[in-house]
């Protein structure tokens, strides 16, 4: 824990607009660093100044001139592993975030235009082994914007990234870019599959790559599919005879299995069910768990 992190803990929970947070950051870091250079330890400074959440609460109350609670709920587990909490959940309270705008403009003058409240104002980033929140970072991170080892989000980044826009070593999503393998509507990666895919090896409706297979293809070793059922044996021969690195060949083995599946629509449909179950497990269960934990925390207050 150092000056920057302590101050960040404070201002990230303050729910204040950017300009105010910047001012506070300057003044607070200056204060803490000055105390440290005067011989105090960071622990002593933290003891003297107080709990970051409490300071943030005071700041918010003094800025808005109300006793309203800040528009988010937070659960952070006590148990930490390598310095990261096991679970950290941040839930914005959207109704309140917009309610603040009403209170703020009713309070008049300064707040009206300056405090255009957006619901993610100063809401802390969830950071933990399991992290859930609008902004999440962790080993398993889920959020609107998320980053981590396994990251799920609208915009996500990580080793394994799932999201609308995702970037990772392995990524899956709408628009996805991957270092290794990518499955997306618009997929770009070393090896990629999707509607529009581009890569060293690519498979899709429109496929661009050195090795490519699809309805429209651009590549050195390319196969254009016009009629899947009729061309199936041709396709299999194409894959078998392809002179390509091992990882490309193994990718195409899976593409081949998928294509065989597509020739039989009823079997393809039967694959949807397990996919939905996986989706439920990955998304729904963490949501329920985090909702439950937040409820427990609220009741404890």
């Amino acid at each position: 824990m150092n000056a920057k992190r302590y101050v960040n803990e404070i201002i990230s929970r303050s729910c204040l607009p950017f300009v105010e947070r910047q001012r506070l950051k300057n003044d607070l870091i200056s204060e803490v660093e000055d105390a440290l250079s005067n011989g105090e330890t960071i622990e002593q400074v933290m003891e003297r100044m107080g709990d970051p959440d409490e300071i943030a609460r005071e700041l918010y109350a003094n800025y808005t001139g109300t006793e309203d609670t800040r528009p988010f709920r937070e659960y952070k587990s006590e148990l930490t592993i390598v310095g990261l909490p096991l679970v950290h959940i941040v839930r914005p309270v959207y109704g309140m975030a917009f309610g603040n705008m009403r209170v703020a403009s009713a309070a008049g003058i300064r707040i009206g235009t300056r405090y255009g409240v957006r619901s993610f104002h100063g809401v802390p980033t969830a950071r933990g082994i399991f992290a859930f929140g609008p902004k999440a970072r962790g080993v398993f991170a889920m959020g609107i914007v998320s980053s981590g080892l396994i990251s799920v989000g609208n915009v996500s980044m990580g080793l394994i990234a799932l999201g609308n826009v995702s970037l990772g070593i392995f990524s899956l999503g709408n628009l996805a870019i991957a270092a290794l393998f990518c499955l997306a509507n618009f997929a770009v990666g070393l090896v990629s599959a999707g509607n529009l895919s581009a890569g060293y090896a690519a498979a899709g409706n429109l496929a661009l790559g050195k090795f490519a297979i699809g309805n429209e293809v651009v590549g050195s070793f390319a196969f254009k599919i016009t009629n899947l059922v009729e061309q199936m044996s041709e396709i299999q021969r194409f894959f078998a005879e392809l002179d390509a690195p091992a990882f490309v060949k193994s990718f195409f083995t899976h593409v081949e299995s998928a294509l065989i599946l597509f020739t039989d629509p009823s079997r393809a449909v039967s694959m949807i069910l397990p996919f939905i179950l996986v989706l439920i497990a990955v998304v729904f269960i963490p949501l329920m768990v985090s909702w439950g934990l937040l409820k427990i925390k609220e009741n404890e207050r």
């Binding site: 105010e20 204060e31 943030a56 003094n62």
Partner: protein, 110 residues
């Protein structure tokens, strides 16, 4: 009760800054040490200080670091403006009137 203390805090901050310019956090310790009834924290001070700055009653300047070898970051000094001094004096006059009235009402026999 907290509200009237807060209103007066602005006045006190203006007065202290009119005597000498200070870092933001210096104000916290000076206020706490100069008065027994105030025990304020950063969470209370900074919103008020920034409001005074936004209203033009207080201004900031960055400390000139003359020693280039010193690794410290330049710090912000807060000082009162002319407008701040005027507002402070007017506010204090008003406060004195109010205080007098309150005293008379509260101390009235009967």
């Amino acid at each position: 009760m907290r509200q009237f203390k807060k209103g007066v805090l602005e006045l006190i901050i203006l007065k202290l800054l009119s005597q000498t310019e200070m870092y933001g956090y210096e104000l916290v310790s000076v206020i706490n040490s100069k008065s027994s009834s105030f025990d304020i924290k950063e969470g209370t001070l900074y919103p008020i200080l920034y409001r005074l700055e936004d209203d033009g009653l207080v201004e900031t300047r960055w400390e000139q670091l003359n020693d280039p070898l010193k690794r410290g970051k330049p710090k912000k000094y807060y000082a009162v403006t002319k407008k701040g001094k005027d507002v402070m004096e007017q506010s204090y006059e008003l406060w004195k009137l109010v205080a007098k009235d309150i005293f008379e009402i509260m101390e009235a026999k009967g």
